[in-house]
Amino acid sequence: MQKNKAQEMISAVRARAAARGVNASFSLHCEKSHLMRIGNNSVSLNTSEHLTRLDIEVINGRRTGSHTQMGDVTSEEYVEKALQIAVAKAEVASEKDYQPISVVVEANVAENAQYDQTLEHLDPAFKADAYQQIIDNVGEEYNFSGSWSSGSMELFLVSTANENTMHHLATDQDFNVVLKHPQKKWELRQWKSGWRLDHFDVEDVINGFRGLLPTYENHAGYKLEPGEYRVALGSAAIAEVVMMACYTGFYGRSYEEKQGWTSKYKKGDKVLGDNINLVDEPADDKTFRFGFDMMGKVRGRFPLVKDGILRNLMYDSMTAAKYGRELTAHTGGSASIVMQPGSADSDLLAAVKGLGRVIYVPALHYLNMPNASQGIFTGSSRFNAVLIENGKVVSPIFSSRITDSFQNVFGNVSLISSEAETVNLSNTYGRRMPEAASMPSYIVSDKVKITDSADSF
């Protein structure tokens, strides 16, 4: 991959800083982002953003300082000026009681395996046309809203430790469309994700709605009373719960500081059910793959839970430094969390035939943790949630709240789909930093606590 001018300027300033004995890392983040929103069957926003950010971190003994500058890198002086801001901050900073770990770019990496030029340069008219097709084919009488984010992200990382460079160029997209009945108020959703344009298929979306509509049009909503239910969680719901379990249980910070639900365990202890396997797998193409982290560590397969047993914890650089642990390539960047599929029929209705009543919750809204130490989470059902009886969809359910623990939900899983799906976890709050998990298309957990439900969808 050829260096562009900005990267050459940064490399030149890096070399001079290294010669002066400055301990610094430089990362350049460039994004070309496009997002189309629709609301009330119209495009409500069509937005393009071309943004460049330069991040510099300086370590001076046990003191650190960092500075981020948005704008095009136009000269070496521009980079040098930003460096001097970080240097000045580190000089004044108070000392830590541990030695911060320096960024060492441990290999030359240039990756673009998940780059699709067609997606990067996609004409927004393609998106408008696709939404138009969906509305025309499914029915204008419904209220459609949604968003479709796509774009590219380029990352360039160097440090004064050596001359190695890491470069990442990738594209990603996240398509969502929600159908709301204007009077009955129920909401159905279809979504697609991936790094290539052809990961989106408008026919799939249209057929997805057509498959769901009869259930919703022909049945009133069902209100669940609080109690324990057999619940099938769809891939998006599984990902929500797994990611929260990761943040509060499989990262070194929460573990070391006894703030998380795994703190009472040690590696080798059983923390989840025998059939649960979780791994950070940067080679999994259903995730957005990052071959390195922001400490310059090369990322590789990293088992977290094997057959329900805790295998490893993910450490960011500050936690590793503070507690004397090895870096695990989990500082910044995006993890590729994978839950291993099982052997159950990929068709949920076929799989749960004979299981009696099953509540299907494809997605969870606004998950949070009232008690992280006990692994208790709470969130409510949203989109496409239905009551299934003996393998047949009986009725949609009203918005229902699950409040339960990771250990209980993932400790009583009786079925795991044999099919894996990409779940897009990216947010667009700050810079473009795609993240996706690969999850079974569903799991069935036999004893899940429903603690409240509304009288509406």
Binding site: H67, E140, N371
Partner: protein
């Protein structure tokens, strides 16, 4: 940092050019600087010592009833940014069922500056760190497992221009801070107490806010004492009882179950694929008894010192002071120009007379959407916290959120708090840990039985309200008195 005459001329010429090319309306926001500084001490270690500088242009074009937006951080590409925004609007206009309109507003000139005595960015870093380290030293005890002290400073200079001839300059400043202590309880669960920098609504909002002891540092001793009791406390048992929310918890209750459901873009269905909708619809205004007669809620509220006080919104409309809920009755929404036009069209009547001045964008590279300003419960006539406790038979006083989870249409909610004080027969009896409560929004607010007087009213600052696609973080405020709700489900069912 002021806007150069060259860039201003270039922006005005481009607005004229785009208008000549068929745009119904165009606006542009140039941020000469959007600075932030974050300082974070964790167990005395300075884990964040970060500054961030952003500058650039955001252009919004309305063409054929649809919005196009483009942003650039490169001042050399201003013309191209306008072209791209127009091109995006033209593409968007191909799929329009309800054409958006801005209505017509006369041109005006405006200027707003956050009231400031000491610009935090002129205070030497060492001085700031000495101050924060001083608080950290107050929090340090052998039995405390974790402690943190955090401060964030923000400064933005924004220049707004639109095709109606309006020009507005704003110089906004914010100071946020929080301290927290954590310790393990007898069951090995981590408990915590915290205090955020708050305001009384009056005064200035520079560095002097942070160093005002009553607003922040003086609370260090109290949260330590409360944590010491909390780690020995029993857990709150499941049951229905009254909940008395202190402003440190009441602000989030209002934020999630009054503020968000009353954002007009949510009501109209523009947030369904991400943040969610609202149980409120256009028929609800003037009809829905949102709460008891003790509930009156304002937007902005004339508060001079809050992150939700910004003079003009990001489409140049002056911020307005008005009621959202009047003695329990829903009367208005948080709104922007295009949204009120669409709402009135849809309703077939004038539901909203004018924009709420609540179109806000987090940065130059985001288009404005309907946001909260300050959303406040007006003080009531039920006296002090002590008066309200004295009138409570069986309840808990709750403070500071640990967890919040709300239904997608804001129709139901579940909150976890840091601490509860049990109230029996008009008296606080003991501290309880792991308190939670849940409810359904309208039923909950109709159970509002006491609203504290002005002495209990505080403005809580929110630095991280998330909404929108692309996502936007917004800063705002909530003026909240002590409030009591009856017959609420508390604790978790066994």
């Amino acid at each position: 940092m002021s806007l150069s005459a060259e860039i201003k001329l270039q922006i005005l010429q481009n607005i004229e050019r785009v208008t000549k090319n068929g745009a119904d309306y165009t606006d542009a926001r140039f941020y000469t600087n959007d600075d932030s500084e974050t300082l974070f001490l964790y167990d005395g270690n300075l884990e964040a010592n970060d500054t961030n500088f952003e500058s650039g242009l955001g252009v919004r074009v309305l063409f054929g009833g649809a919005w196009g937006f483009a942003a650039t951080s490169d001042a050399k590409t201003i013309d191209a940014c306008f072209d791209l925004a127009l091109q995006n609007a033209r593409t968007a206009a191909k799929l329009v069922r309800v054409p958006l309109q801005m209505g017509k507003k006369p041109a005006h000139q405006g200027h707003f500056a956050s009231p400031l005595k000491q610009d935090p960015f002129t205070i030497p870093l060492k001085q700031k760190l000495d101050f924060l380290n001083g608080i950290d030293a107050q929090l340090k005890e052998d039995w405390i497992a974790k402690r943190y002290v955090y401060a964030e400073f923000q400064k933005k200079n924004i220049y707004f221009f639109n095709s109606e001839g309006t020009e507005v300059e704003r110089n906004l400043a914010n100071v946020f801070a929080k301290m927290m202590v954590m310790a393990l309880d007898s069951d090995g669960q981590m408990q915590r107490r915290s205090q955020e920098l708050f305001t009384t609504g009056k005064g200035t909002r520079g560095y002097e806010m942070l160093t005002s002891p009553e607003l922040f540092s003086a609370h260090a001793g109290r949260i330590k004492e409360e944590l010491a009791q909390l780690i020995k406390a029993d857990a709150l048992e499941y049951g229905r009882r009254s909940v008395i929310l202190l402003p440190g918890q009441g602000f989030l209750q209002v934020h999630e179950t009054i503020g968000h459901p009353l954002e007009l873009d949510r009501i109209l269905g523009y947030e369904l694929s991400y943040a969610g909708g609202s149980f409120v619809d256009l028929d609800s205004f003037g009809k829905l008894q949102y709460g008891s007669e003790k509930l009156s809620v304002s937007a902005f509220g004339g508060i001079e010192n809050s992150p939700g006080s910004y003079g003009y919104d990001d489409e140049g409309s002056p911020e307005r002071d008005y009621l959202l809920i009047d003695k329990g009755l829903l009367v208005n929404a948080l709104s922007s120009r295009a949204m009120i036009d669409e709402a009135n069209q849809k309703a077939g009547r004038t539901v909203f007379a004018e924009s709420g001045g609540a179109a806000r964008a987090t940065a130059f590279y985001r288009a404005p959407i309907d946001r909260m300003t300050n959303v406040n419960i007006l003080p009531g006539n039920d006296g002090t916290l002590e008066d309200i406790i004295a009138g409570t038979e069986d309840g808990v006083v709750l403070d500071n959120p640990v967890s919040w989870s709300i239904g997608s249409n804001r129709e139901h909610f579940h909150f976890g708090c840091e601490i509860a004080w049990e109230v029996k027969n008009g008296k606080k009896t003991r501290i309880l840990r792991n308190p939670t409560y849940q409810g359904h929004t309208v039923e909950f607010y109709n159970s509002l039985s006491a609203v504290g007087d002005a002495s209990t009213w505080r403005v809580w600052q929110v630095d991280n309200c998330g909404k929108g696609e692309p996502n936007q973080i917004m800063q705002l405020g909530h003026g909240i008195p002590v409030v009591r709700f009856d017959n609420v489900i508390t604790g978790e069912r066994k």
